[in-house]
Subunit: 156 residues, 2 copies
């Protein structure tokens, strides 16, 4: 364990990875037990639901679903569409593009999933962190996020 990173920072990193794995695992498990869809479906449906009827282009949606590649999103939307949760149409203004809109069933699913999802956020975050602590956590992680997003680590 060299290349000298302070022990505290390393511990924070490891705890970060472990906490994330445990929390996500738990949410997925709760959703599966409740007979609902996986978190990835929620992630993709949520921006569409929030858009309240406005259809999003695949690219716009992709930009908001950060854990999946562009082609991965195409395939996810294939499944969502097959399940009747979203609808695709060719974009009218730029005919290279495709727009996706959530259906009534899609919005219904999002609403059914939220309570289960929320219970797990309660357990993992709300019950163990005060408002002030949550704010501190948010601010520290926002800095990590910004740093991790900053312009390329290793240019091509």
């Amino acid at each position: 364990v060299s290349t000298e990173i302070a022990e505290t920072h390393l511990d924070a990193w490891r705890t970060f990875l472990n906490a994330h794995a445990a929390a996500i695992e738990r949410v997925e498990q709760a959703l599966a037990t409740a007979g609902l869809a996986p978190l990835s479906w929620y992630d993709a449906l949520w921006p569409l639901h929030r858009a309240r009827g406005r259809k999003l282009r695949m690219g716009e949606l992709s930009a908001q679903v950060v854990t999946i590649s562009r082609s991965g999103l195409t395939r996810l939307v294939d499944r969502l569409e097959a399940a009747g949760l979203v609808q695709r149409e060719p974009s009218t203004d730029d005919r290279r593009g495709t727009v996706v809109g959530i259906t009534r069933e899609g919005s219904a699913l999002i609403r059914r999933m939220w309570p289960t999802y929320a219970v797990e956020i309660e357990r993992s975050f709300v019950e163990v962190l005060s408002q002030e602590e949550a704010a501190v956590l948010r601010d520290l992680l926002a800095r990590v996020h910004a740093a991790a997003t900053a312009s390329d680590p290793v240019p091509a």
Copy 2:
């Protein structure tokens, strides 16, 4: 956005997910650019490397590689073995079991990966968090981890 979770907690949750996605993405990208193996290989090799020669049973190893299922680990170890980085043998004391040991090449790979990995931890954590802040982050996330690990959310 109902089922009432305070906005601060929700923001913390979202930032948690985004920060994780960004940080991991960055590490994977750096490793790939350097022509090294993915993080999952590091995760599996590290406990074996740390065991300094002692061979671990598949179950022991599985317990320490938290992001992958037992059968997923079998397949990962298949690949690591094919790459000459680990070696499997039937366990002598309990012949149902298998033990895995890291090879010289495996340890060499871990050592070659670490500097690249470390650079990204530096960028995402060390450069933006003081010692004290890292300690605070570690402590808050340790609570999240504990809460997310606590006995079953939804019993079968």
